[in-house]
């Protein structure tokens, strides 16, 4: 394959010719390498085991216009309309571009660095290179390669050793703020040093009527004894293809807790890979999805127990209506020597219509001794007797369904230890229940 066709293949999904994006030579090389790797595979297809439930042909048919260089007035207005009611520092990206007007970076607490990647590239290119250089290790994942091919912007967050950050840090990515379909590929890099503690809320947003392609990669490192609570509110544009990859390294006795709450997007892929790299490290990787219409939500998690005495817990619950489809794929790998590992995984889905689907695929690969691993998956309907009981007391069918769905999802939301994050999801869920068509 010639160099030109190679870069064209990635260009197709970047909405801009690669040569137009500048930066230092190492960055251009990194993009070129990403483009080459992506061209070799193209978009993932269901023939790949990890993508067996998700077909991206719809995305392949779209075309994208270049994102605006400057954030225009209309985009800012759209962004303002989508802001969550949560205070504290904030980074805002609109169609992949940093929006200073809607960001809140003044008065950051001591020990907290938070800035757009473009600022780091401009001011401290050496540090940017150190942070991103290893990020190219794309694990053979086409979406990470594509993200690298268009790498230019994202959130950079560093929490200094021992710093306990009081308020959640919010990172907002809006896709679809302009009239035309846009493509963005944010690259977030979050470093939490030893003993630090922080809550981070990622908000994927967009207007209901818009189309967008968001292909983000979030790399998180959790230092020894540190705690990271990572919430993701996926409420992207109704026509969005939101492909998100989260890669986490968890150090000795450190805790990583994530909750991905998905209500938006035409298609959402939540690729989460957590490596428990220090003794005593633990993670809780959970989520909930509320789908209807033609929505598709694929949660694909991989937990790697690389050291002894590491624990993982996953709880995913979903409610699927219309012709939508919800998926949970959970792989737990216990490496040789990772003795006394404890891994637990649970997936439960409720189908509200006869055309809705849910799939669960647990995979356990255990190469160590004295390991406790369990998994369970259920797919069912709302309890008919409970529905009748509620209706026999005068509660209309739609409301009865809403009450049962709410109770079902509430159990998953219990997994979140930071109630400020939980409140954001509870509020969004309440809106979804009210939208339940009767």
């Amino acid at each position: 394959m010639s160099a030109t066709t190679t870069s064209m293949a990635a260009d197709r999904f970047l909405g801009a010719p690669l040569v137009a994006t500048g930066g230092p030579e190492w960055l251009r090389e990194l993009r070129g390498e990403g483009a080459r790797r992506f061209a070799a595979t193209g978009l993932p297809t269901p023939r790949l085991e990890a993508w067996k439930f998700t077909d991206l042909r719809g995305l392949g048919r779209l075309s994208f216009s270049p994102a605006q260089d400057a954030i225009d007035i209309q985009a800012v207005a759209v962004g303002r309309g989508l802001l969550l009611d949560i205070d504290g520092p904030r980074l805002m990206f609109i169609d992949g571009r940093f929006c200073a007007a809607l960001s809140r970076l003044e008065n950051l607490p001591a020990g907290v660095e938070m800035m757009p990647l473009s600022a780091l590239l401009a001011n401290e290119p050496g540090r940017a290179r150190a942070l991103l250089g290893e990020g190219l290790a794309d694990d053979g994942q086409p979406m990470v390669a594509l993200n690298a091919a268009g790498l230019e912007e994202g959130a950079v967050i560093r929490i200094g050793r021992g710093t306990r950050v009081e308020k959640p840090l919010v990172v907002v990515c809006i896709g679809g703020a302009s009239a035309e379909a846009t493509a963005s590929r944010p690259r977030h890099r979050i470093e939490v040093e030893d003993g630090a503690e922080v809550s981070i809320l990622e908000h994927h947003a967009g207007p209901v009527a818009a189309t967008a392609f968001m292909n983000q990669v979030t790399d998180i490192s959790v230092g020894a004894g540190a705690t990271v609570r990572h919430g993701v509110l996926q409420d992207a544009a109704g026509g969005a293809y939101d492909l998100s990859t989260v890669r986490v390294r968890v150090g000795r006795d450190a805790v990583y807790e994530s909750f991905t709450f998905a209500v938006g997007a035409r298609l959402f892929r939540n690729d989460a890979r957590v490596r428990l790299q220090g003794k005593g490290a633990s993670c809780r990787v959970s989520g909930a999805y509320l789908l209807r219409g033609e929505q598709h939500c694929d949660n694909a998690t991989v937990i790697e127990h690389e050291q002894p005495n590491t624990t993982s817990r996953e709880v995913f619950k979903g409610v699927v209506d219309g012709r939508a489809r919800g998926i949970f794929q959970g792989r737990i790998v216990v490496h040789p020597g990772a003795d006394k590992t404890d891994g637990h995984q649970m997936s439960k889905a409720i189908l509200l219509s006869s055309e809705a689907t849910a799939n669960a695929k647990p995979e356990l690969e255990i190469f160590a001794d004295d390991v406790k691993c369990s998994h369970g998956a259920t797919v069912g309907e709302l309890d008919r007797s409970a529905m009748f009981y509620l209706r026999s007391r005068g509660i209309p069918e739609a409301r009865a369904r809403g009450l049962l769905v709410e109770a079902f999802i509430a159990e998953a939301l219990e997994e979140i230890s930071d109630e400020r994050l939980r409140d954001v999801f509870v509020a969004r869920a309440a809106r979804w229940y009210e939208e339940v068509p009767s």
Binding site: A386, R393, G394, E397, R399, A407
Partner: protein
């Protein structure tokens, strides 16, 4: 004058199997009817079909409730129109607090009837009065609907729902079974408190015991999907002595 409930030649099938084979029964406002009968005779089937449970299909006859075809109404409409079924086996609903459930029910029915919804304070006041009357502990309102309730608590919870929804036609399906004497008295008090000239009741029971506390105007024996005998309260006493053997024989 139209009857409160007028059941004419009602036949019902469950899973394609005929369970009720032609029931005729009329309940006027102000009356209490007891329905007795051996296990499996179709008592609960009658209760469910009146409340609108799916899977209980009328295959013949008709039921008029205050002159209207009951089968034209959804379960929630029937409830809002004043039909109430106290379940033989109340359903557990994990994750839905009893309080929330009761408030949703009361306000749904009030909305239907064109009345203002109760706000949080008004609702709490109403509940305080009702739980005191029925000897129900506070914490039963906070727990999930019927989850972890004892048999007696479940039955009291049914009567509590009935008390707050104030139905016109109350159908009680073995609300007395499995209760100790105190619980039985509390349940009977709750039911008697609702007795009025505008209300009718259908009390399904296996034992005559309940009828010592709630004295019926009419007693019917259901066996093999038919009402095989009707009489006044003395029929219940007679059955207490003779049992249902003669009817199960007849039904077979």
């Amino acid at each position: 004058m139209t009857s409160l409930l007028d059941i004419r030649g009602l036949r019902v099938a469950v899973d394609g199997k005929q369970i009720l084979a032609g029931i005729d029964l009329r309940v006027e406002a102000g009356e209490v009817h007891a329905i007795m009968g051996p296990n499996g005779s179709g008592k609960s089937t009658l209760a469910y079909v009146l409340a609108g449970r799916e899977g209980y299909e009328p295959t013949g006859g008709e039921v008029l409730y205050r002159g209207k075809n009951l089968f034209d109404m959804s379960p929630e409409e029937r409830a809002a129109e004043g039909v109430f079924l106290a379940f033989q086996y109340p359903v557990e609903i994990p994750g839905v607090p009893n309080n929330t459930f009761l408030k949703e029910a009361v306000n749904a029915v009030r909305r239907y009837r064109g009345e203002d919804e109760l706000d949080a304070m008004q609702f709490i006041k109403l509940m305080r009065v009702k739980i005191k009357e029925l000897g129900i502990k506070d914490d039963m309102l906070k727990r999930a609907v019927n989850v972890g309730f004892s048999g007696g608590e479940k039955k009291r919870n049914e009567v509590l729902q009935m008390a707050v929804l104030e139905p016109r036609l109350a159908i009680l399906d073995e609300t007395d079974s499995g209760l100790d004497i105190d619980a039985l008295k509390a349940v009977a008090d709750g039911v008697n408190a609702l007795r009025s000239a505008e209300r009718g009741m259908l009390m399904i029971t296996h034992y005559q015991r309940l009828l010592d506390y709630i004295v019926p105007d009419h007693v019917h024996v259901l066996a093999g999907g038919r009402i095989v005998r009707s009489g006044d309260k003395n029929l219940a006493r007679e059955l207490e002595k003779t049992g249902y053997a003669e009817f199960t024989g007849a039904a077979a």
